[in-house]
Symmetry: C2
């Protein structure tokens, strides 16, 4: 079978609800800046009632990455669970309109489409509280073998370890990918998520993952090390490629005993860091699936991340393919 | 009874769905740039399926104005009809979070919360297709006499003449306002809307309206004149204050036999003109309800309009009160 898709992502299908928030509001709400917290429906309603006027934009970490792949001119599929409700229609419309193949069956009954309530502080950082809703119903039955077989890379998000049956779905996707000679990529998603699932994540990586994405705090959490260099040393060889992002300090890729690094792209003003890691992964995977060397793929990731943090929301607002061309990539 | 509210608005409660669109997409879809077209649910679904990835932001012309009044540090109320669905929750959350008093009962059954599908072309112009949904159920029973009595000004939108029972609601609101010694303001909303209802609008203005807002094309449509000066001459004396906006050519206010004009505020880049007229009205009404002379109120309108066209969406993204202070207003 031909692999006519570059990447298929499996993730939590979420609509982001973004509002500005002063720093002291985070303190009052007991939220830890930059973190992602899981909340139930009642807590989501309580938090929403405290939030400033908001904007709704489709989100979901790996879904953002797939929209990025499509915007780069690549081909992408997506597997995730929404409900047949208004926000589910919004999510489904947006990912398809972005050019991503998305055919997962929506829930007819039960919890509503997932929402991520995002407080954006004046420094552009985002603090997320996620109501998983319909995502808790994602299971192995949603993993379409034909779709996996058609994709050069299957990209999974660590966040999927939170809903009960999604980890079975992830393992099925990873096993199918390798059965068909494809590659498996994983994002560690969030340092607190790594904290919750460290041992299982290590086993997952060792058994299944070819390309690992982490930011510095996730890398340190997984490896239980204190410094960046120690975390890098502990990750070396853990996967064929290990990509670690460091915000404004750029990013590093470990490939066997080689390593390459890239500086962050300059940005006039950081408006909202939501999606920075997701779009970094999109750029890197686009390069990888088109035969770019790891260092070049890293630069593509940096360009995409810079675009996404310069505006509100985690989906590209301009065609990313054009940005790469402008930078000679 | 004290008037503890500056302005209460009555309007169609709508969530905007904004997407970028190249000019040739408007041609393909048979849409007239800059216009507002009413569509049914099936047409809304068809158009949405053609749209690029979108952003959802609360809208509704007069609701935008009320959010503007609150952002200016004024006090505002709002009357409008949503359904008890996810987009209705979004609308209700956003207007309350903006600081606007909003207690209209949501529909339990029937059509869903209204959506305005907005295509934003590269020149920043917006072309709107509105599914009125729950708004068609707004009626005189929704007009709260106590709320009207508490407000210095009641602000109505011409768009309310489209849903069947809303005009009864408008007339009730206007009559109650005058019964309590308050002022009535009206926006003509849209040149095509004026075309649909010209004779009734003229009667409404003559019988009930103290402050009239129109843009140039609406003014020409109402007066069936060809040029701007002819339209102004025909509008003079039609209401105590007549405010006519002209986009980048600024605005004019007619007050008896006096008139004042203002230039448009400079804007670095026009991103999305959605809400320009709504926020112009907010600035003017804020000045008016705080005793500003018509020329000063006009400048306040121009400052607010400039803020709203510099970003996506028709609700303020920064506190407008601060902008006025920065400009010595």
């Amino acid at each position: 079978m031909s692999h006519d898709l570059d990447v298929t992502g499996v993730g939590n299908a979420i609509v982001d609800v973004l509002a500005n928030a002063p720093d002291d509001q985070l303190v009052r709400l007991g939220l830890h800046k930059g973190s992602m917290t899981l909340i139930d429906a009642a807590a989501a309603d309580r938090l929403y009632a405290q939030m400033a006027p908001a904007v709704e934009i489709s989100g979901g970490s790996v879904a953002n990455s797939m929209a990025g792949i499509a915007s780069l001119g690549g081909t992408a599929g997506y597997i995730g669970k929404v409900k047949r409700d208004q926000l589910g229609q919004v999510f489904s419309h947006d990912i398809r309109a972005a050019g991503v193949e998305f055919a997962s069956k929506p829930l007819q009954d039960g919890p509503s489409t997932a929402r991520c309530l995002i407080l954006v502080t004046p420094d552009g950082q985002r603090t997320m509280s996620t109501y998983l809703g319909a995502c808790v119903e994602l299971g192995p039955e949603d993993i379409d073998e034909a779709l996996i077989a058609r994709s050069k890379v299957v990209y999974l998000e660590g966040y999927l370890w939170d809903p009960p049956r999604a980890k079975e779905a992830m393992l099925k996707a990873a096993n199918l990918a390798h059965k068909h000679g494809r590659r498996v990529a994983l994002s560690l998603s969030d340092a607190f998520c790594v904290d919750r699932h460290r041992a299982e994540f290590k086993r997952l990586i060792d058994d299944h993952v070819d390309i690992l994405f982490a930011n510095e705090s996730e890398a340190r959490s997984l490896t239980e090390t204190d410094g960046f260099d120690a975390a890098l040393a502990a990750l070396r060889g853990r996967a064929e490629l290990v990509v670690v992002t460091r915000g404004e300090q750029g990013a590093v890729v470990l490939a066997g005993d080689q390593h390459e690094s890239v500086r962050a792209e300059p940005v006039a003003r950081v408006v909202d860091t939501t999606g920075a890691g997701d779009l970094f992964a999109a750029g890197f995977l686009h390069g990888y699936t088109h035969g770019a060397a790891p260092g070049v793929a890293l630069r593509m990731g940096a360009v995409c991340a810079a675009e996404i943090i310069s505006h509100v929301g985690a989906r590209p607002s301009v065609p990313l393919a054009k940005l790469l061309v402008e930078r000679g990539l």
